[in-house]
């Protein structure tokens, strides 16, 4: 079947940025929601590229936060990215205050009590810290003091805490600090969820990839009207669980890898005037993302530097899968 489009002037391929509620996001958001609703404390971990930050953004976006012109501000969920490079308590305080909007410059001895008062005023119920693996003993102990102050009179406000970290090799960041025998860390650990203080959210299985691919089909239907990705699910899964991408050999696929693979293949198909992907295009994409990932890419005088002309075109394409 000839899938080519004859019009010569096809507009450039457009990447779609819509949030897809994947099985990973459902698992992850359920945990974030639990921390929020139960005001519980967790270290939540997933491999890099899973979609942790996207999930936090989505939760915050749907949290119902608003600033009314009557002076009332409601912000039940505060989410920030952890400050880096041996940050001090003050750096974390500044990040937290920035999440609320524009703050006049204040000395730390004023900002510190103001932040407690402000969080109570905005009815904060949960704090999420992304990239929490960058937290250290100073910033963690500040978080404990901040939440202790909110829990004490006059505010009496219990606040949930989600420390979201990237992990690899099954090592959960922050666990070593929090499990120290010192009094402060014992107190910190006591505040954590009794059943699931340290959680790892896994990536996608093959079945879940099969579930996600139709969402990509819908997103790119306008540009590739005959797109049927489901039939390639097994091939895509096998490629993305290659040890080069799946460093922990978990046999799970991250959303970042899946998105890059799919969109890269779709772009190639589109640029060639196709209306669907084919085995050849997927093969080239896999080669580029996996086998040739670390190859040096020489950029000379050619202005069209990201035009890829792989010599893998001669190799056999993968067989079509009967999936979905």
């Amino acid at each position: 079947m000839d899938n080519t489009i004859s019009e010569p002037s096809r507009p450039p391929f457009v990447l779609q940025r819509a949030f897809i509620e994947t099985p990973f996001e459902r698992r992850y958001l359920a945990l974030l929601q639990h921390a929020w609703k139960e005001r519980s404390w967790h270290v939540i971990s997933a491999v890099p590229g899973s979609g942790k930050s996207l999930g936090i953004d989505e939760l915050v976006r749907k949290s119902g936060a608003y600033k009314d012109k009557t002076g009332v501000t409601y912000c039940p969920v505060i989410a920030i990215r952890s400050p880096e490079n041996n940050a001090r308590a003050q750096d974390l305080g500044v990040e937290l205050s920035r999440a609320m909007g524009v703050i006049p410059t204040m000395p730390w001895n004023k900002l510190r009590p103001w932040l407690v008062q402000e969080m109570a005023s905005e009815q904060v119920e949960c704090i999420f810290i992304d990239d929490a693996h960058d937290l250290n003993t100073y910033t963690l102990s500040y978080l404990k003091k901040l939440t202790d102050n909110l829990a004490a009179s006059p505010y009496k406000r219990l606040v949930g805490l989600g420390l979201v970290t990237a992990h690899s090799n099954s090592v959960i960041p922050l666990k070593e600090i929090i499990k120290q025998p010192d009094e402060i860390w014992q107190q910190f650990y006591r505040r954590m969820d009794k059943l699931h203080p340290f959680c790892v959210v896994d990536g996608h299985t093959l079945d879940e990839i099969i579930e996600i691919l139709p969402d990509f089909e819908k997103l790119y239907q306008d540009q590739l009207p005959n797109l049927r990705l489901r039939r390639w699910a097994r091939y895509i899964y096998e490629q993305l669980t290659n040890p080069i991408l799946d460093l922990d050999e978990s046999r799970r696929v991250t959303m970042d890898n899946l998105t890059k693979f799919v969109t890269s293949a779709l772009r190639r198909a589109y640029d060639r005037g196709e209306t669907d992907v084919n085995g050849q295009i997927l093969k080239e994409t896999a080669e580029l993302m996996i086998q040739r990932r670390d190859d040096l890419f020489h950029i000379g005088g050619d202005s069209d530097i990201f035009h890829i002309d792989s010599d893998s075109a001669n190799k056999e394409p993968p067989p079509e899968q009967a999936v979905g």
Partner: protein, 284 residues
């Protein structure tokens, strides 16, 4: 904008708590209420905006005629339409009264003395725009004498970051506890005349009407042989102001209104003069 949601880019560009002007509220009152809802010391909002827009943030801001850049920044950090912020000043009214080349002042900053009505502050913590008008010493709404000093004897100051908003920087007393003194009827009648001129100029005033008023003042002063207010430079076709309350070659509306009352000129006189006056005269 009634509400700013967290996925709106304005979330990060606005203060944690927003306020919107009350009817006829004056800009400093709005800024103080902004300090109050955000839990900041009096003048923190003012200082922040001044440092954000000025190369020399330590320079005193002219609160009687704030620059448009300042008002734009206020509208940004409170996510309010620009015109709503402009309405907390007399900028639009003054622009209408001014001609193309020269700009009018309500009053020079150097002459401005802050006063307030304790009753207005007690209710909605409101400072009205009329507090900016020179020679107005009675609250038009509550008919109470405007207060300029605290019970402790200290002059009232709009912005002092050491204390909460709407309090005396010397003793910390809230402004709503200042004395409430009723104005005498005679005194109130004079102020009513002053106010009616201000209202007239702000609601119906144009550069032409203002020029007619100046012309009347000049004529009456010529009769009294007391030309210490204005005189018309006929060659230049511009009014020159001559007097003590002169500020950088700019005319003060406060002084015009005061002269109209002092010389017993009525609103009808001005309107009749404006109709008959077809000259091409501007003022400065």
């Amino acid at each position: 904008m009634q509400r700013v949601s967290i996925d709106d880019p304005a979330w990060r560009a606005t203060f944690p708590h927003r306020v919107a002007p009350l009817p006829n509220e004056w800009l400093p009152g709005l800024l103080l209420r902004c300090d109050m809802v955000n839990g900041w010391g009096a003048g923190t909002t003012l200082a922040h905006i001044r440092s954000a827009i000025s190369t020399y943030p330590s320079y005193q801001l002219n609160i009687t005629a704030p620059p448009l850049r300042y008002l734009e920044h206020v509208s940004q950090v409170l996510a309010l339409p620009f015109q709503v912020v402009v309405a907390t000043t007399y900028q639009a009214e003054i622009d209408r009264l001014s001609d193309e080349t020269d700009h009018l002042l309500i009053q020079p900053l150097a002459k401005f003395q802050f006063s307030l009505c304790p009753q207005c502050v007690a209710g909605r913590r409101k400072l009205t725009r009329t507090l900016l008008l020179p020679h107005i010493t009675i609250c038009p709404q509550h008919h109470l004498m405007l207060q300029t000093t605290c019970r402790c004897g200290a002059s009232l100051q709009l912005f002092s970051q050491k204390v909460p908003p709407f309090t005396c920087p010397a003793c910390g007393m809230y402004w709503n506890r200042l004395p409430r003194c009723k104005a005498s009827p005679g005194f109130a009648a004079i102020e009513q005349r002053l106010l009616s001129f201000y209202l007239f100029f702000f609601s119906k005033g144009t550069a032409k009407i203002l020029t007619s008023a100046l012309r009347l003042i000049e004529e009456r002063e010529a009769v009294r042989a007391n030309r210490n207010t204005f005189f018309l430079l006929r060659d230049a076709k511009r009014y020159r102001y001559v007097g003590q309350s002169f500020y950088r070659d700019r005319l003060s509306l406060g002084y015009v209104v005061y002269s109209l009352v002092r010389l017993n000129i009525s609103l009808d006189d001005i309107m009749i003069s404006a109709k008959s006056f077809a000259g091409n005269v501007s003022f400065s």
